[in-house]
Amino acid sequence: MALKFSSLLLDRVIRATVLAVFTVLLAFPFYWMIITSFKQNVDLYTMENNPFLFNAKPTLDHLKFLFTETRFVRWLGNTAFVGVVVVAITLFLAVPAAYALARLAGRWGERLGIAIFLTYLVPPTLLFIPLSRVVAFLGLQDSLWALILVYPTFTVPFSVWLLMGFFKSIPRELEDAAMVDGLTRFGAFLKLMIPISTSGILTVVIFTFTLVTQEFVYALTFISSESDQMIGTGIPIFLVRGDVYYWGALMAACLIASLPVAFLYNLFLDRFIAGFTVGAVK
């Protein structure tokens, strides 16, 4: 009994240690962003100072600088705008497609579904060169519309895949009953399936939005003017003036831009995992 108790205790100690070490390693950069954001420059740039402590009074100067002297707010707005429009386009394309592939097209639909999913594996780093010409040809260089045109290339495949799994989990009998009651197939889709699928659709909204905020390559390639940046490119590229890094403002910006995305993501994590592991977990 005593042996069992001590091995249980040992087990808990090991677990706690492992978790503590990994949490510190993984979260450290974000902790460092917080510390840096509130330190005065004299404190940041004096090598003798212990960087873990506040050697001078904490300050809000970096935040003030960020919000008043940079285009940070504009970039947040750009990102929100592109995010909202891409979400709308993604829903418009992906919801009906996922439903059709899950329900109507049979075996063939499943194959097409897998083919669409495989396009999610085609990376921006393979397509950015030809797409830069497409964007130039359409006269969309330096315009947020270039991103709106191109971002659904990765949001649609992922969303179709996620929603296919979701629609398949709803029993067919529901629509069949509705159709016996006089609704058409499309009517059943609009009036029955969409309302029951609100949580699946919400998941797609969240992940489309986070994918948009996380994108870097296309935004870097298509957009060069400072005022049209997204947060992912504006912060690391335009908060550096020449060779001067405004580390305080830079870290504050990273933190402010990251946290809301992280919160949203956590709320829907289980569905996100389900999207990746469809079929591999029974």
């Binding site: 394309l93 594996l121 495949p157 956590n266 389900a274 977990v281």
Partner: protein
């Protein structure tokens, strides 16, 4: 009976095939136009002399591939791409398995720990990478400060983490691992939770210790999900250019350049679309192999 009647109704009117095509056609067309089209265009460029600002195009055969294969920076890039992808994935598989075991049993505060652990994956990667750039700064690096404080280095003699080729390669590799560990952990955690509790318990009753239970029972049962985690991890790292671009921009002296970052440097910054397209096409073979394994995992799960 009602079910059958409805099926007959929808199929009998001939509405279903038309409707389903109409519903998935927009998505499929969009993907064909903006993924399929550009992909073909990339191949086309790779065999041409396309440059930004040059309207005329000529077919040059394998010329681009010949000059790429001869260039030393390309060889470094392909080596780095493989080193970063495989090296970071080894770190990820080991760490994520350990973390998933540690997170498996419920405890107070698990939600907060999960949130903190997930941050590297959910925060935009360019922002996480710039955080690391500050941590690895050539003068004010907190790591250097700590090592000096612990007397591993004399003041001002700590290494430049991103300024020396080998250290820069190690830094990029570890930042890639840092980013993918949370993703793999949550996927593996889902796999563990799906294993019926009585199986490892029965093994323990039969006298199997912790390691034996893990290696001979739990991990083999998790093979499909482990493959999913590894395949996505490999793809995400192999195709990424953000980490390298932010941390080192390929430097010092092109020593951390990868296929995507070199394609960007030549194709966009250097205006040589043809060379950039040709380099990025070297991503395709490995992607095809990974996609093949992905399909096998999916199919096996479907059959069982």
């Amino acid at each position: 009976m009602a079910v059958n009647a409805a099926r007959i109704k929808s199929d009998g009117t001939g509405q279903s095939p038309f409707l389903s095509t109409a519903m998935f056609a927009p998505a499929v067309l969009y993907i064909l136009l903006l993924v399929g089209g550009p992909f073909v265009l990339a191949i086309f460029y790779a065999f041409s002399d396309a440059r930004i600002g040059n309207a005329e195009l000529h077919f040059v055969g394998l010329e681009n591939f010949r000059s790429i294969l001869e260039s030393p920076s390309f060889r470094v890039a392909i080596r780095n791409s493989l080193v970063f992808t495989i090296g970071s994935q080894i770190v990820v598989v080991v760490s994520a398995n350990i973390l998933a075991i540690a997170l498996e049993t419920a405890f107070r505060g698990r939600g907060i720990v999960r949130f903190l652990i997930l941050l590297p994956w959910v925060a935009p990667i360019s922002l996480g990478a710039i955080g690391w750039k500050w941590i690895l700064d050539s003068i004010y690096s907190v790591i250097s400060w700590t090592l000096v404080a612990l007397h591993f280095f004399k003041p001002f003699s700590a290494p430049m983490w991103l300024g020396e080729p080998h250290l820069a390669i190690a830094s990029v590799l570890l930042v890639h691992s840092w980013r993918i560990i949370p993703f793999s952990t949550v996927i593996l955690l889902a796999g563990r939770t799906a294993i019926p509790k009585d199986i490892p318990e029965a093994a323990a009753v039969d006298g199997a210790g912790f390691w034996r239970t893990q290696f001979q029972i739990v991990i083999p049962m998790m093979r499909p999900i482990l493959s999913v985690a590894v395949l996505f991890g490999l793809i995400f790292t192999f195709t990424d250019m953000t980490v390298v671009y932010i941390l080192t921009a390929g430097g010092p002296f092109d020593s951390t350049q990868t296929l995507p970052s070199l394609a960007f440097a030549l194709g966009i910054q250097g205006s040589d679309l043809a060379a950039g397209a040709a380099i990025s096409l070297f991503l395709v073979p490995l992607l095809v192999i990974l996609a093949y394994f992905m399909l096998r995992v999916a199919r096996r799960a479907e059959v069982s």
